[in-house]
Structure formats: C-alpha cells, structure tokens
Amino acid sequence: MIHPDFYRIRNGHAIGLDEVPLVTFTEFKPILLNAVVSGARVVLMCAVPENVFLTKGHSTGEQMRLLCVMAWDEEGALGLLTAQVGDSFISLTPECPQVHWFEREIWEQWGIFPQGHPWLKPIRFHKPYRKNPRENITETEIGETVFFELKGDEVHEVAVGPVHAGVIEPGHFRFQCHGENVYHLEISLGYQHRGIERAMCGKGFEKRRLLFAETMAGDTSIGHCLAYTHIIEAFQKMTIPPRALALRGISLELERLANHTGDLGALAGDVGFLPTASYCGRIRGDFLNMSALLCGSRFGRGMVVPGGTGFDADIQRTDELLARLSSARKDVSNAVELLFNTPSVMARFENTGRLASQAARELGLVGPAVRACGIRKDVRSDFPTGIFNFAHIPAMVWETGDVFARAFVRWLEIQQSIGFIKSQLSNMPDGETMSPDAGDRRAPEMAVSMVEGWRGELCHCAISDGEGGLSYYKAVDPSFHNWIGLAMALRGQQISDFPLCNKSFNLSYCGHDL
C-alpha cells in the first residue's frame, strides 16, 4: 500500500510545484525504508536545487532537496517525496542497496555527501554541478579511483577497457579472479558522458532537446523520446490523437523487436552458434528497416515529436509493414527455435550468470533482466500510458535468472510485440497524427514519465520554469539500475563467461553516462 506521506502521482501527468510534499531528512529516511519493506522500489532518486521549486524573485542560495519517486508495481501506484538536505545526509545504501548508485550520483553531481556509503566513488567522472567542491574527493580524471581489490595467494586482477575488442562502447571493467573464477567484477563508466542532463535545461539548447532525448541511448531513441515528449505534453496539456498513439506504440515495439532479435543473435554468436547469429543479425536489420519505412530512419529518429508523430502511415505502408512483419516472424521463429533446440547452446545458457530473485529485487533491477528472475513488472502493464491504456501487452517472466532466462524472456517478448503490432496495424484509428498547437504556458510544474523501453524502465523527471523552458531535468536509463546486476550475476562464474553474461544484459553505456 502506498504510504500516505507520499504524494500519489500518475505516469506522464504534471503536478503543481506547491503539491510536491516536503519533509525533513529525519522523517524521509524511515518513510523510504518502510516503503521498500512494504514492497515498493526506488524508481528515481536525485538532488534538486531548492530554487527551482520557488517562484521567481526568491533567491535561496545553495539549498538542495532530495527527490524520490517510488513505485508500488503491483498496485500501479507511484509516490513522490522530497526532503530538505544540507551538505551531507546519512546514506540509505546499507539498509536499502537499490539507492547505492543514485547516492553516488548525487554526491558526484552536487557534492552532497552520503555518510556511511559503503563504496562511494564517482560514476561518470565529471566536474560537479555546483561551485563548492565535493567533500573527500580528489579524483577528477576519468578512471582514477580506488578499485576493489582481492587479496590473497594466487589471486589476480584482469582490467579491460575503456576501449574494448569489438564495435562496442567504452567502459572499464575490473575482474578480481582466483584462477578462472571471478570473485568480483567492478564496473567503472563515464567514458560516454556528454552532459545531456544539464544541456536539457541549458539556455540555447531548446532546439536540441528532442534530439538529445533521441540520442540519450541511440538504440532506445523511441523509448527516451517518448519519455521526454510525455513530459512536454503533460506541461502543455496536449491530448494526443489516437492514430498517433497507435503509431507510437508500433514504433516502440519495433524498437524492442530489433534489439531483442539482435541480442538473441549476439548471444548465439557468443557461444559460437553461428547459424542463429547470422540469421538474427539480418532479421534485426529487417525490423530496423520497418522503422525506416515509417519515418526514414532505422532508429526511429523523427517519428516521435511533442504532440504526436512526425509521420503518418498510409494504407500501402501499413500493408507493406504487415507483409514484412509476417515474413520476419517466420524467419525469427525459425532462427530462435533452432537456437533453443540445440543442446550445446542450452548447455552454455542454462545455469550461467544466475541472479537470485531476491538480489534482483533488492538491487531494484528492471526490464527483461528482472523479469528473467521471475519478478513481474513492466511499465506497459503496471503504469500504462498512451496506447497501452487501450491495448494490453502482458509482462513476460521466466523464473531461472540465468542467461537462458534472459534470452527466453526476450523471445517471449518478441512474440508479444509482433502480435501487438499486427493488431494495431490491422485496426489503425483514423484521424490526425498531431494534436493542435500547444496551449498557454502556465505556472511551473513537475512531471514524471516512465516508458518500458526494450531494455527496461526509462524514467524522466522534469520541472518547467513556466516560460516554456525547463529548470530541471533528470533521466534514468534502465542501465543505471542494471549494471550492478551484471556484476552480481558474474560472481562465482568463470571469467570466460563474461561476454555471454554481458550480452545477456546488453546494457547501455551512453544511456548510463548521458
């Protein structure tokens, strides 16, 4: 049950800033911890300058607030709470591990010190957002930090990256090994940091905001773009035409199809099963080309815009999409069934990189990674927006928590998404694809928006300045929650299984680094 101290918010709806509940940190901590005990999880936690909550004319200096959004997935409730905070606060991580990365972020961005955080280090290695220097921090150069070390006879360390041996993004990994066995993997990121969050509310970047959203993680263009446009539409009180909602849903699921198919192919490649690796590599392209058929871009660039969609689909186009979809469905079924029917593949997938359900829950993981641990949560069914208010896609789960489960959940989701797109294309609502022009700009408001991207839950939170601009922006990619999941899944595994485990999560570096 949602705790009464939280203000109940709705996904993609704006609230006035005077409605934002404020408590002291002494009150905040037990409220949050009790909520976690009652089954809630932390969707987002960040620090916000106090002055964005105040109307113009008030100057407050350096006062900050902690802001927390919590989700009670089973009852579909979202709660908001903020707390006053000074230059330091008592870390919640020892009692509530799922905030560990958020607290590191708050410390790195604003210099607010979480006392008692067990592994406080930078996560992106950038300059702090405020002038006063961070406490107890000397490192500013990327990668210069104190890494975990395993001590003992015959232990060794393997350091990988930032530049990896494939066409992938940069990140630094340190394995603490004894023989072939990994005792701990530490992941240190920040190499892709482009300063997007700050630029989202920066002056002179207004024209780029939508494009920043599209490029937070290029493989999740539609997902992040939807999260952003939902916020802008909430601020401007736009009603999106049903046809645009359907097109948006189709685009989001095409993105999921392309990436899930690509991942299954890459998993096949990582265990040396080349038939499925080649087929899926090609079929992934077929799904990307379906996005290009809709909007000219394989990644859905330009498809989602505030107010609706940038492109419509005429009848020839929907027919063409249906035809391509049914042939891709046949090909992907064949490729994936071949994968799962091959004993040598299953021998490598099963029991590799197993993550316990309890660990996944405590760490607050999201997306296919958590559904593969038997935990049923999916923004599309728990906090539906847009087309998912009308068309239901059930959340797909599997219990085993291993590489196989993460692969199999993807396959289940592929089948659901194909069915969804087919039914949407066959029953497209008529009408416009853009809502009429935006209404009046109103008083400053706050909105939280969540979207189930292919990798998991995306959450954006913004505060408007009442003059058409934004005074605060925060984006959380599913990778932000899930990188620690990969580290945990690798414990006790052989180091040679790292590529397979890594691919089974397939997390985003740029989505994390922003």
Partner: protein, 254 residues
C-alpha cells in the same frame, strides 16, 4: 544437423547485390539535401533559425550552404522553410575526403569522393583492417557500423574487416563527439596503430561534435585530436553511406 541445414535453406541467401546493383533506399530516407537555387526570399533565414546544429549558413555571396558534417538530417530546415528551398533526397553517397568537401550549397554540389592516394591504395585496397573506437556517441553509429559485418552487407567480401587490436589495424574509425573522458583513450589507441594509418570519422558527432558540439564536455569531434582522412556524414550514417564511402575511398567502386 539436419535442422540446421533445413533452416539454412529457409533463411535463404540474403547478401545484397551492391555494388553490382544500386541499393534501394526507403522512400522517406533523408539523404543528400537538395538546395534549389534562388527560391529564398530576401533576408530570410528561417532554415538557419530552425537548424538545431547550426549546419546552415546564409551569405550574400554563396547563398545558402549546408555543412553535412554538422547536419543530423532531422529535416527541421525543410519544415521551417516557407519556400521549399531545402529538401532531402534519397542519395546516400555523402562521404568526403576533406572537411571542406562536406559543405554543399546551391552553387556547389557534393564533391565525389576520390580514392586514397596511390602509394597507400596499393597497401590497403585489397585488405583493410579497421579498429572502431566509440567515443561518446549514442550507440546508433556503432550499430550501423557493426551491421556492415552481417550477412546483408558482408563487408569482408571486400577485404575489409573490423579487428580487435589497434596493432592489427590499418585504420581507426572514430564514432561519437570525443568528449573529454575519451581524449586519452582515443589518443592511446591511435598511437598503437602502426604507420601508415588512416583515420575515419563517421557520423555528425565524430565530424563536428554534432548535437554535442556546444556542451560542457569539450566534444567537438575526432579532428580536434587526430588527422582525419575520411568523413562519413549522417546521424547515424546509413550503412550504405558507410559502405559506399569505404569502397570509394579504396577505389573499389567509382
């Protein structure tokens, strides 16, 4: 085994006929911009005002010009323009060997990419190994660079391969705007590639910083750190744009 063979037959032969046949692009694909001469109203710079990456310049002498190295092909200029001066065509051939050749205008069409100079061509034409370095991009360029090694494009049939070690590489292909946190890693990777070496910048970010050119992370593209030999515009460049650029550069097509 029988199932694998059956599936192999069902999945068919999928490699595209390019370069023997031209590649068909989706009708909504935004490729090479077409600038109609002399349709602009006096003093009008609506396209420039709409462009999110400052890719458009308007001057009295040369009229309207677009820097494809900055352009992210979002089509905003087309929407902003009252007279239909700029439209996006279907031509995917965008690669250029000099930064200046990325700029097109109503009077200056795109300069067709010339092959590498002969002494290097003799080394690289039949075997060209590329080390890809992702430096602060959004991952879309990686995806469309990577897709060239799938069976659809089958890059290795041209003797071009992606390699894991810079020491095995002939060229560095840089993607992303090269933010501060990647400066040292990119330089080190470049130093590890044996001479003579080629640097390719793929995507608006790697060419000019693209969307991220004015942010706090000093990200203004690959040629702020390295000498770039080949520029491949796009956001991200379509796989055909990259493939066409590489093959022209190596004198495999003309």
């Amino acid at each position: 085994m029988f199932e694998i063979i059956k599936s192999r037959i069902l999945q068919k032969h999928r490699t595209i006929a390019f370069p023997k046949k031209t590649a068909a692009m989706p009708d909504r694909f935004r490729g090479l911009p077409v600038i109609k001469a002399a349709t602009c109203g006096p003093e009008c710079d609506d396209c420039k005002a709409g462009c999110p990456t400052d890719a458009i310049e308007t001057t009295k002498e040369s009229g309207l010009s677009i820097d494809l190295g900055k352009c992210i092909f979002c089509g905003q200029c087309t929407k902003s323009c009252p007279s239909g001066t700029i439209t996006f065509g279907n031509d995917y051939r965008l690669a250029a060997a000099a930064r200046g050749n990325c700029v097109i205008s109503s009077t200056k069409a795109i300069t067709p990419l010339k092959p590498l100079r002969p002494e290097l061509l003799s080394l690289f034409k039949r075997s060209f190994n590329i080390r890809v370095v992702s430096a602060g991009g959004c991952n879309a360029c990686e995806a469309d660079v990577n897709v060239l090694s799938t069976i659809v494009f089958d890059l290795s049939r041209f003797g071009i391969n992606y390699v894991a070690a810079p020491r095995h590489a002939d060229a560095l292909l840089v993607i992303g705007p090269v933010p501060r946190n990647m400066h040292a890693a990119l330089k080190k990777t470049y130093d590890a590639v044996p001479d003579p070496k080629i640097v390719i910048a793929a995507g608006a970010c790697a060419i000019s910083g693209g969307l991220f050119s004015h942010n706090s992370q000093e990200s203004i593209g690959a040629d702020s750190l390295l000498p770039v030999d080949l520029y491949i515009p796009g956001c991200p460049p379509h796989p055909m744009t990259i493939l066409d650029g590489l093959l022209r550069f190596l004198d495999r097509i003309s």
